[in-house]
């Protein structure tokens, strides 16, 4: 315990200074949220590269939580579905159900090139299509994988902080 305490004192704050607030207009649906966004992640068939970056975005360095974003365990608690990967056949229906399970207003954010246009996996035998084909996407974050900063910026357009 003493060791951990020393470590805490030695490390101090690792969160980087917050970049300026993104200029983009917040979505009409996001205006309702008032600085609080709960996020449910859906991996619709990704290679897990985007998941690692999402993990980093919520880690101490980028600290998405300081803008009022929080990961939750159930789509019922969520305002935002963070969808990654090309949508595989087995995940198509679950993805639609997840979005349907969220209380209105609900927002879908597609993360990564695969989510936007199936990327590397386009035309694969197990791929049903991109996220855009399955559900209506409100915000998209391109990149393969996108940088954590880009994910954080996208989420900040939703929280408005």
């Amino acid at each position: 315990m003493g060791g951990l305490l020393r470590k805490i004192r030695g490390t101090g704050r690792v969160a980087e200074a917050a970049p300026p607030r993104p200029e983009a207009d917040p979505l009409p649906a996001a205006r309702e949220l008032g600085g609080s966004v709960q996020v449910r992640c859906v991996d619709a068939g990704s290679c897990n590269g985007c998941e690692i970056e999402i993990g980093n975005a919520f880690g101490p360095v980028y600290d998405a939580e300081r803008y009022g974003v929080r990961l939750v365990a159930s789509p019922r608690h969520a305002d935002v579905a963070l969808v990654t990967g090309p949508v595989t056949r087995n995940m198509a229906e679950p993805l639609r159900r997840t979005v349907a399970a969220m209380p209105q207003p609900a927002i879908v954010v597609a993360v990564g090139d695969c989510a936007l246009d199936c990327g590397e996996f386009a035309g694969g035998y197990g791929v049903e299509g991109s996220v855009v084909d399955m559900v209506s996407v409100d915000v998209s974050v391109p990149g393969c994988p996108p940088e954590p900063a880009a994910i954080v910026t996208a989420l900040r357009t939703l929280t408005g902080r």
């Binding site: 229906e93 679950p94 159900r97 399970a101």
Partner: protein
Amino acid sequence: MNAVGPALAAVGGLAVAGALAGGLAPARVRPLAAGLCTAGLGAAGVVAGAAALGGARYGVWLPGLLPLAGVRLAVDPLSGLFMAVTGAVTVAVAVYGVGYASPGGGMHGGRGPGDEDAAGSAGGRHAGSDAHEPRDALAAGGGDHGVRSRGAQAVGPVFAGAMVLVPAAGSVSTFLLLWELMALASLLLVLAEHRERPTVRSAGLWYAVMTHLGLVLLLVGLALFAARAGGESFAALRAGAGGMPAGVRGTVFVMTALAFTSKAGLAPLHAWLPRAHPEAPSHVSALMSAAMVNLGVYGLLRVGFDLLGGGPAWWWLLLMGAGALSAVYGILQAAMASDLKRLLAYSTSENLGLVVLGTGAAGLFRAAGDRPLAALALAAALLHVVNHAAFKALLFCAAGSVLRATGLRDLDRLGGLRARMPVTAGLFALGALGAVALPPGNGFVSEWLLLQALVHGLAVPGAAAAVVLPVAVAVIALSAGLAAAVFVKALGVGFFARPRSAGAGRAVESPPAMLAGMALLAACCAALALVPGALGPALTRAVRAAGVGTEKPLADGELGVHLAHTSAALHPLWVALALVAGTAAVAGLARLPARRRARRRDARLWDCGGGAPTARMAYTATSFAEPLQRVFDDVLAPEQDVDVTPVRESAYLVERVRFQRLVPDRIEHRLYRPLLAAVSGLADRARGLGGGSVHLYLGYGLFGLVAVLAALVVGW
């Protein structure tokens, strides 16, 4: 003017009339006629009890009614309390019984899971195997067995009458006579459905043996008492008790206490209870669990406090030990049970354990010389008797409604009844609220009072009190905590969610007579929960009659409960009102921030995206209880059996895994099994003595007679 005498006469008369009506009336009106008589009898019991509680004393000797000693009745407020409780339960249950025994409903009444061993109800069977359910209505049209039979209908009023009259007995012979009448009548009622289910017979056998062993103990104990006191009327016993040597008094107390605690269903003498209560027709279970077991407590109070005039601390420590054991063990077994009626039966064992714990505490305080505190503890115990009678009768009746509507007692297959039987579900919830000892339920008031008595008991000198009281508080708390888990299970798994079997899916609401009976009980529960203070003066008189203390345990004129000697007070009415007001206020405030009135949307259950969850995925009672079973592994000692069948080609590929788990009643295993084995071993050996020759048997008789005479001659 004394209303007790005429009311008691009415009880007797209506019992006889009810028996005649049940035995002779045509099948169509039989349940109605017998039920009306029983209800009237119960009402008369309430009148007699209330009059006695109001302070009327009544005594009569009818020498002509029975040969030898005659019938002697003596009624004081203590008997009044028990008569009133029994009478009130009888009224409600009789009304319920009219509906229960009437034909109709989706299925025939009283049919249970016939092909299942009730003792193994915690096993690994699961919902979804509807083929197991007994579909053929054995007794559907006929009226000649089951609850509608001539016999059952005739015995019912006798049972009720005997129960109401037991507390009125004023002499040993009258008491024993009524006690035995009650035992026999209840035995016949337990056996009412023996043709439908084979398990009934085994339950009946257990009940018969244990109740008669109890009777023998009682007979010997009271006979010893009467012989030493020089008279068999209670007045003579009371007068003679003071001069008896401590050893005799102790013997009398222990023997009668064994019999009475067995009747009250206390561990370790509870074995009959979880068998007989589930197997009896539901309204009989309600009567047994809410009224008959109370008479065990009445016996303890009458003999221990009133007739023997109290005793040394070890008597009461013994009682407290039995009560504590029974409270924890009973509720633990209830937590494991998945048979709804078995669960309720074990819960009876727990609640009576708490009552006896309070009784023991009262005795302990009295022995230490603290009369006001003893009075408080006894008042708490008596209040718990009343509360338990109300909610347990309601719960058993509701369980009977479920059984009648679905043919099921197994919680693992029930579910979804909230939508199909809304009134029954609501009433069960009300009863469960009483049983979990949480405000604003009625059970909370008496457990609070009991805790208050124990907490204030610290002032009592003596190591025993200092050691026992903290343990007693912990025991009550643990049993209350487990009771919450038990009734969340019963209500949440049995009535909420979705039906887990076709039987539960076809349930329909019960007929009005049954609902009316339950509504009566629910009204009693609500009244006891909200204005318990109204019982204050009655409790004071009953406590005084028991000879425990002349002080008032509760302050008069209060709606809530206000201890007379300390600052503690409870106002359940205000708490309930505050909760209701708070709920309404929160509901209103929560709507304010919404900018527009969003309509509540119905959505499919969140299934993790994987297709609608079926009822088989829902938690069952067995799985609900699993964590508790793991925590109390050492106490419960579950038997587990995993059977893996590999495919023929390779031992590494599994074709089938069979998992079975049974939580047996451990006391039964450890105590009764060896005992029964020893008895049957002895019987085997004794078989050599019986050669089949009548002369040999007569010879034994002669030999015995001669031996006794010889012993007399020697002067022993």
